[in-house]
Amino acid sequence: MNITQLPYIKDIYGFLGSDVMSGLVGLLIIAALVPLNVAALVLVERKVAGHIQLRPGPMEVGPHGILQTLIDAVKLLGKEMVTPGLTDKPLYWLSPIIVVAPAFVGFIPLPFSPLVQIKDVNVGFLLIFSFSSIGVISILMGGWASNNKYSLIGAVRSVAQNVAYEIPLLLSVMPIVMMTNTFKLGEIAQAQSGLWFIFYQPIAAIIFFIATTAETNRAPFDLVEGESELVSGFHTEYTGMRFSLFFLAEYTNMVIAAALFTTFFLGGWYGPVLPGAVWFFAKTYFLLFVVMWMRWTYPRIRFDQLMNFAWKVLIPIALVNLFITAIVLKVL
């Protein structure tokens, strides 16, 4: 349900109100929102990291270092695009492009507020999860193509990690789907007007949070570009703008993961006083702060522990949780 479906909109805007136009305008908004969002997030991450580590973080560029990320982006634009020899040229060039595409698509079904939603796609979050697996293919392509042992190890790790954490991710969302018997994110958010789902499904919420952190290669699971082992993982050989595209994709995936968590468990746009969208963004950014906070306090898990944790711990718990929800729903 979005703004264009309101009855009087069509006769006011006529041609502008049609689905195609609203989709186009929505995509334009995403194209503007995502890079700015990433710039803000990178700055917030460096500030949060600084203050956790007793230091102020970027201060020189702009008042209190506000423009630091923009300056970084401009610098990366001006860097030389080194294409190392012996690399698999087409794959090397294509990988950063393919990694960013699914990140943008993820914003379409997100219900920012009852009226502000680009398209309430009826497959809802399945669209997001399926596109996020394309991101993994591009990481593998990037790691393989840059002809560097460190990036190959990083890429292979990222595939194994994403495959292992895709399953608990879906299993933890299934109880929500069973409770609201719909895939549409808009309706899931709407169903939480009374009590937020986090109180119904605390276990699913925890599993979802862990799985999304692992899915976006963040915090204790960032084995893919673990600085201290693999120099910098799959994007070791990427310079300039290509490297920043990987950065863009990583932070956008993080935003989508946090947004999904708020839609499923924290009641989307419901909040006492302020309008819907403000509540949605407040919850999302708080979750992002928690992810950043985790990154700067926890060391990195080893690869075999990562796999054991997913297959032997998360998936069984998610299945049991799903089973209990099914029984409870049947009984009620």
């Binding site: 230091r55 020189e60 300056i71 401009v74 860097k79 030389e80 294409t83 910098s232 070791t236």
Partner: protein, 187 residues
């Protein structure tokens, strides 16, 4: 020589770079100045410490002398680094490594020779010395020299600021001097 703002991807002083360069926006001065400004306000050093100066380089990155204030994030891979801080003595066994790292760094790259050993061999250079190279500038072109053994972290930060002024104000001054010389030559 008439310096009209260095082209975007200036390889440091004639050191041939591994791959070809991307097309440069040359001559349109305001964009060039903005790029220079951006380039020096986000200097990413390569984590490459050799000896005692490396500890002082790490101390520059810590809470007290924090270099993150200047937008400096140490990067592990030479591909994403702008500045190579040669911190420590350079033995013969390390020369090829330093050259390879320098070549792998993408253009506009700068080099800081930190500590006496990187400037001239420092306390270890005497005529019977067989093990070390007397100074980093015998291998790679160096932009800023920081004396001290080891130099204090503030000295390293001042080295970074020296690079910042050199590649922004320094170029503007060079342009002004060149125009003045051109005008005088016309008279």
């Amino acid at each position: 020589m008439e310096v009209k703002g260095s082209p975007i991807c200036l390889p440091s002083k004639g050191y041939q770079v591994e791959a070809q360069e991307s097309p440069a926006v040359v001559g349109f001065v305001p964009v060039q100045d903005l790029l220079n400004l951006a380039r020096v306000n986000a200097l990413w050093p390569l984590t490459f410490g050799i000896a005692c100066c490396a500890i002082e380089m790490m101390a520059a990155g810590v809470a007290r002398f924090d270099w993150d204030r200047f937008g400096i994030i140490p990067r592990g891979t030479p591909r994403q680094a702008d500045v190579m801080v040669v911190a420590g003595t350079i033995p013969h066994k390390l020369v090829s490594t330093i050259k390879t790292l320098y070549d792998q760094m993408p253009a506009p790259k700068y080099v800081i020779a930190m500590g006496n050993c990187a400037i001239s061999g420092g306390p270890f250079s005497y005529d019977g010395q067989y093990a070390i190279v007397n100074g980093a500038d015998k291998i790679i072109p160096v932009d800023v020299y920081i004396p001290g053994c080891p130099p204090r972290p503030e000295a390293l930060l001042q080295g970074f600021i020296k690079i910042q002024t050199k590649y922004t104000k320094g170029i503007i001054d060079a342009n002004r001097r060149a125009e003045k010389a051109a005008r005088r030559a016309k008279k």
